[in-house]
Amino acid sequence: MQLLKPDPTFYASPRDAIKAPPETLAYVALLSARGNGAPDRLTVVDTDSTSHRYGREIGGVALPNTGDELHHFGWNACSAALCPFAPHPHVERRYLIVPGLRSSRIHVIDTKPDPARPRIVRVIEPEEIIKRTGYSRPHTVHCGPDAIYVSALGNAAGDGPGGIFMLDCDTFDIIGPWEKERGPQFLAYDFWWHLTHDVMVTSEWGTPKMIESGLDPELLLAGKYGHHLHFWDLKNRRHAQSVDLGAEQQMVLELRPSHDPHNEWGFAGVVVSLKDLSSSIWLWHRQNAQWTATKVIEIPAEPADPQQLPDLLKGFAAVPPLLSDIDLSVDDRYLYASCWGTGEMRQYDVSDPFNPKHVGSVRIGGIVRRTPHPADPDRPLAGGPQMVEISRDGRRVYFTNSLYRAWDDQFYPDGVGNWLVKLNVARDGTISFDEKFFAEFDPAYRVHQVRLQGGDASSDSYCFS
């Protein structure tokens, strides 16, 4: 349906978006803890601090099948609809595009009329996706200027190449694969863009076969997981340049470009270095027309008693930070870094992106530390900070604790649990746990991505400064 005025959740610039009202609810992906148990679920959590149900589930919808393995998801439309070269702001931010990472099934979920009672309006079956795109294992979803873009980890057989495909933004029909010329790109994971510079950036994890039965130590030690960034001509859909971070930099995952459309830089997180098990964050930027990446943050591993470590890590006598997600506030001021292994959420001041300052830190969970939440200070917690989402105004940070089912079981073999917590960010930037917000769910589920009502720091792209 066409609106007479633009959707009120669209903002022309990040500067306007940070003035958005606080979100009153969050959509959270719940995945079956044992694979083929209960169907996965998209749940709705109350984030209105004045509500008597604050921090609790207030609705949701169960998926029609089992074994989907919900992971990431995204909106049908966002602030990119105000971009001057593809203006169409009279559409609604209304549908969540929710892929099953293991099943390759995509669900289109309507969040209106009652945002607390989302309804499934369309299911795109895996056969359809494979037939039309050649891809499987859909992952990241971004609302683009001309279509909904979805990344995929591999092909139907579970091998590479992975890539990107497009959905029609009105009908949700699958258009086809995005790339016209992929160059040397083979592995896929995340993607985002510099819309006003016609640049797409993609990252690398591994093919479905390399990840679906767990992290493969042989492949890891041989440096076979992804270690490149790829830069593309967004307009002509052609690969432009690869940047190799070095084979010891294993698994280049989340990509967070600057929200300011003037800038041509962004952060990429690397899970583990084979040299010392550290994690790192790299700044990509353009220098004399060439893309380059500079390591700007290194997070060291922490020494640990092998007895406290899962089999995979016993030999190292250390717990790696396993940086699994990063998120950049809409004002490009703070970068949050999830250390899923050590159980730490770090906050960096990136006002100067080349020289981030580690300014804040909270501890929760962790392979060894098992730090409790302040709301229940005597109960050790499993899992660690993982998918992190920042409100548009930058004042609230939400994060969950499951990484990926098969990998959870390797690093947290006695169970990863399920929790969603929230940090408050004071005016001076200081972070602290919100003691009233500690959500735990039905133990049949684990918990992955959070999306905030009306958009958040990783959902929207802006074309004006």
């Binding site: 007479l4 009120p8 971009c83 169409h88």
Partner: protein, 215 residues
């Protein structure tokens, strides 16, 4: 309708297209903000105007020639039917032009302007003026009468004049809005102030078609 009223209407239709953010000025402003100079907006308006002109010209010239060749009543009803059909299509199926790419050159901006104007049915709105004036200039129901339409040459030159007046309205209004927004207003107002003119436009097309049917 008197001649001066026709020209004024054509001019203001051009202005109406010009102030629509989806028809060019916003792209010009985007480029101006990106390059941080107002001259980028003015530079962009040249190809954007050319694209708009080509799109409108295609429809107006074809219609002029068709109106010259074929029986007037038939063309008149066909034009009315096209307006109504396109208007309803725009109401029911609001597909925006699929375009990605901000760093485009002269040719790209011209193409963009052409596609956007076509998708909005910019040229269609001029149809009543074109077919109304053809072949039978003395018919009282005609919305417009212009001398010289008895010949192909006359039909074409009348069409060219219409397009020129219309395009003048477009380029003046679009450039003025672009500069005003870049220098003074900013783009923040868009999120509340950008009324869906396409919706209004679609209704206007249907209405014009209906009036054309009845006259």
């Amino acid at each position: 309708m008197s001649n001066s009223a026709v020209w004024l209407t054509l001019f203001f239709l051009g202005c109406y297209h010009g102030i629509n953010p989806g028809m060019g000025w916003l792209f010009a402003v985007g480029l101006a903000f990106q390059d941080r100079t107002w001259t980028a907006a003015v530079r962009a308006m040249v190809p954007l105007t050319l694209g708009h002109l080509l799109s409108v010209a295609a429809i107006v010239l074809v219609a002029s020639l068709v109106a010259f060749q074929l029986p007037h009543r038939g063309v008149h009803f066909a034009a009315a039917a096209i307006l109504i059909a396109f208007g309803i299509y725009r109401l029911v199926r609001a597909r925006h032009v699929r375009w990605v790419g901000m760093r485009v050159g002269f040719g790209g901006l011209t193409l963009w302007g052409f596609l956007m104007s076509g998708a909005h049915g910019a040229g269609l709105m001029l149809l009543p003026f074109v077919v109304g004036g053809s072949k039978a200039p003395s018919t009282p129901a005609m919305p417009m009468t212009m001398p010289g339409l008895e010949t192909v040459h006359g039909a074409v030159s009348a069409g060219v004049l219409m397009i020129s007046v219309h395009t003048l309205g477009y380029v003046l209004s679009a450039t003025a809005v672009a500069l005003l927004v870049y220098a003074k207003i900013g783009v923040r107002f868009l999120r509340t102030g950008w009324v869906n003119v396409d919706l209004v436009w679609a209704l206007a097309l249907v209405l014009t078609g209906l009036i054309a049917f009845m006259t």
